[in-house]
């Protein structure tokens, strides 16, 4: 049995967990639900010893524990199957299963012991796999089951499964569920993290729902709850950072249209249109294919069917350069540190990098003076706080970094801007300023395609919301800027297959 009581976890500027509690009983499957950013990952990381909580208590089997490393967690009997797979492809199945405590004899691996222990764990799961086979080349579903076996080898009394079904086919999921039920019947306490309500109803006995780091439903029997109740618990009430005035209705012809587009990335039959002066939201759970769709528009993955039209003309965009120069489309990526910015370069270069062509001196080189003037213009316009434009971007705060990432595309005079998760890891005040900024840019005529997993942000900003799931569009919602009805409609579209 695992009991977490009033867990608190603070990050700079954010209370990731603010009183999260849950109680997993032996012989039951417990669901952990919550929107993106509700604190699920943080909670899992505390339960597995990756993070240390700033408050609250944890006990396993009635004993209070302090899990200050993943090793301590597995010693305490908490096993975990992570979202990303942690198997060593070149090792055998057996070696992977007992990896955390490989048996040795006189400094050499004891292969017989490895085989025996691995066999024991595989048998627990009724898995007929050869422990000596190498892991490389095995199908994904079997990798997942091997991870479960690995967690079992540590004699875990508690097993955490972090979104184990994201990349699996229905029959693989069914196989995994059989295994989970078997473990449950043997008395293991299982925590099942998933976005898919239908799976939760099929498998779980009790549920905890996190919202903004708080358990809004704690260890409640699922049988008493309707799907609508779960959705309400997840989305809650709005507490928008800013209240933005209504914007005039947009009537101009669309500048960006996708009709029945399929892509090499796996999208099927995507249709949407975006007008100048409009903010079109693209909502979906993590893994729904939104960023991938943005990258397909930029030519980074091929469009295999359907038509992409820019300003009414069917186009074939080759790459980001072509998107920018030929069509005035820009992309502010989700991961600003890895994809958006040059952290070890000054602010000037980060803002001007896409327009060096335009900043030429008479003899043809890039003019440092015009570059600085351009950077200063946008630093002022976006309210970027810094002592000098020569400062390295890596030295700025997250909010200012994100503004620099945005400034690059404004300086490039884009007319269509795809903004991907603009406020992740940004404190509440800066977030509000950012929302106003995006709102103002759209009001000034920019066509904005906004990708965000933050429903509040979506309802605050978007004019219309296109809802995606598993790389296709499952519906469109006109945003009336009323948080509750809109968010319910959006969540309803995402979970419509659950009934």
């Amino acid at each position: 049995m695992l009991i977490a009581q009033d867990l608190v976890k603070l990050f700079p500027g954010v209370r990731a967990l603010d009183g999260a509690s849950l109680r997993i009983e032996p012989g039951s499957v417990h669901a952990l639900l919550g929107e993106n950013g509700a604190g699920k990952s943080t909670l899992i990381k505390i339960l597995t010893g990756v993070y240390r909580p700033d408050g609250g208590t944890l006990s396993v089997g009635g004993v209070e524990v302090h899990l200050d490393s993943p090793q301590a967690a597995s010693r305490a009997g908490v096993g975990v199957v992570h979202q990303e797979r942690n198997l060593v492809p070149e090792f055998s199945i057996g070696e992977n299963i007992v990896l955390q405590r490989l048996p040795a004899k006189g400094g050499l691996l004891d292969r017989a012991a490895i085989r025996a222990e691995a066999k024991r764990c595989l048998d627990l799961l009724d898995l007929d796999l050869d422990p000596d086979r190498r892991v490389r080349g095995l199908p994904v579903s079997q990798l997942q089951l091997i991870e479960v076996a690995k967690a079992l080898s540590m004699d875990s009394s508690v097993l955490l499964l972090d979104e184990p079904t994201t990349a699996s086919t229905p029959s693989e999921v069914e196989r995994l569920f059989e295994v989970i039920r078997k473990l449950r019947d043997n008395g293991t306490a299982v925590l099942f993290v998933s976005h898919k309500l239908e799976e939760v109803y099929e498998l779980c006995d009790t549920v905890t729902v996190l919202r903004d780091g708080v358990s809004v439903l704690e260890s409640t029997p699922l049988a008493d709850l309707a799907k609508q109740d779960l959705i309400s618990a997840m989305v809650g009430r709005a507490h928008s950072a800013v209240d933005l005035p209504a914007r005039p209705a947009v009537t101009a012809e669309p500048v960006l249209e996708l009709s029945a587009v399929s892509t090499a990335a796996g999208h099927r039959d995507i249709s949407l249109s975006l007008r100048p002066g409009e903010i079109l939201g693209l909502y979906g759970l993590v893994g729904a294919g939104r960023s991938e769709l943005a990258k397909a528009v930029l030519g980074l993955s091929a469009i295999t069917a359907g038509e992409l039209r820019v300003r009414g003309k069917a186009v074939n965009i080759k790459d980001v350069r072509d998107a920018l120069r030929g069509h005035r489309i820009g992309y502010v990526p989700e991961d600003r540190k890895e994809e958006g910015l040059f952290l070890d370069q000054p602010v000037t270069k980060n803002i001007a990098v896409a327009v060096w062509d335009r900043l030429r001196t008479r003899i043809g080189g890039v003019s440092a003076k015009s570059e600085r003037a351009l950077a200063e213009t946008y630093v002022e316009r976006l309210g970027i706080r810094l002592s000098s434009t020569d400062k390295l971007v890596g030295e700025l705060s997250g909010g200012n970094q994100q503004k620099v990432s945005l400034a690059k595309w404004l300086a490039a005079e884009t007319e269509i801007l795809i903004i991907d998760e603009p406020t992740v890891g940004i404190d509440v005040r800066t977030k509000a300023a950012f929302h106003e900024l995006i709102w103002q840019l759209a009001t000034d005529g920019l066509a904005v395609l906004l990708i965000t997993s933050d429903l509040v942000e979506m309802v605050t900003l978007a004019d219309r919301i296109v809802v995606m799931r598993d790389f296709h569009v499952c519906g469109e919602v006109v945003n009336d800027h009323e948080y509750e009805p809109t968010s319910h409609r959006v969540m309803g579209l995402i979970h419509q297959d659950a009934e």
Partner: protein, 339 residues
């Protein structure tokens, strides 16, 4: 804050190099009476510094995008081979041969870049393979086409380039010093051109951005593959120029030109503050770093050090420089994740 201090000390690294250089020159000068001899010490020293500075720039070109060029010496041999061919077989004048050789070096560099971008294999591996391939190819050509494994035809002007100093350049009655070789003009021109490229030209600036963050560069509309090919072509062309300078110094074009280039090619840039991970280059630093190593080499030689102990000292200097580079990188990473 400490950040500013750190950054200033990074910029100060070149000041440190200058101070170290001055100190060593004073020390060697007081220990060795003939250390400041124009014709027999300073002139050849500066000629070597000039050549190796160009070699350093050849490495710097690929370091700017975060790549390595292990074949820098062999590309010099490849370019020099075409120059030798041009003089001996095609009887071309000095500068025509130079242009052909540099173009050949740039072409082999571009090919290397193309292999890297199209295969996705690490630049270290590709240039290492290129090094072996060129070694075989160049040796083969020399052994097929020459009797003494060298092209020895000297076109008009080559001898003068080897021996002339600024003393042979007079404006009216005022002549230059006999300590500075005329060959150094190539190094100065190369430094000016490369300096302009990285500070002012869009292409060079984009190379630095590729070195800083290739993904962000791609997503900012920079043609990453073209910049990679360009940087390798530049590296090959500069290597060939260095090959030319070495051939002029030694008097003939042979297969072994450039075989001593690899270590100095890293010493100069890295001592001078060019990051191995890309995104930042220092042209003056490359010159200073090269000067420092050559002064140490010259001083120790004149003090009677053996070739072996020289190699040991230079190896240790490189190791120290690389550790410094790592320290700087750690500092800049820490800066990046501070907030």
């Amino acid at each position: 804050m400490t950040l500013q201090v750190l950054r200033r000390s990074l910029a100060d690294q070149r000041t440190g190099l200058v101070l170290l250089l001055v100190l060593l020159v004073v020390v060697f000068g007081s220990l060795i009476p003939t250390f400041f001899d124009d014709r027999f010490v300073v002139f050849p020293l500066l000629r070597d510094v000039a050549t190796l500075t160009v070699v350093g720039l050849a490495q710097l070109a690929v370091l700017s995008i975060g790549h390595l060029n292990i074949a820098v010496g062999r590309m010099a041999a490849f370019g020099a081979m075409f120059m030798g061919l041009a003089y001996e077989q095609w009887h071309l004048p000095l500068y025509a041969g130079l242009v052909i050789g540099v173009a050949a070096g740039a072409a082999i560099g571009a090919l290397t870049g193309l292999i890297i971008t199209s295969s996705g294999v690490n630049s270290f591996v590709v240039t290492l393979a290129m090094d072996f391939a060129l070694l075989g190819f160049v040796s083969l050509v020399y052994s097929e086409l020459t009797t003494s494994a060298a092209f020895t035809t000297k076109p008009a002007g080559m001898q003068e380039l080897r021996t002339f100093s600024l003393a042979d350049v007079c404006v009216g009655p005022v002549c230059g010093t006999s300590a500075i070789p005329q060959l150094a003009i190539f190094a100065v021109l190369a430094m000016l051109a490369v300096g302009y490229l990285y500070s002012r030209a869009r292409t060079g600036r984009e190379m630095l951005m590729v070195g800083s963050n290739a993904v962000a560069a791609e997503l900012s509309g920079i043609p990453v593959d073209r910049r990679i090919v360009g940087a390798h072509a530049l590296s090959g062309g500069l290597a060939a120029l260095a090959g030319f300078m070495l051939a002029v110094t030694s008097g003939s074009f042979t297969a072994t030109i450039g075989s001593e280039f690899m270590l100095p090619s890293f010493l100069g840039p890295v001592l001078g503050g060019t990051l191995l991970t890309g995104g930042a280059v220092s042209i003056i630093g490359t010159f200073l770093g090269t000067s420092l190593t050559q002064v140490i080499r010259q001083g120790l030689t004149m003090l009677g050090a053996s070739v072996q102990s020289l190699s040991i000292s230079l190896g240790i200097i490189l190791l120290a420089a690389l550790s410094l580079d790592r320290v700087r990188q750690v500092i800049s990473e820490r800066k990046a994740v501070r907030r």
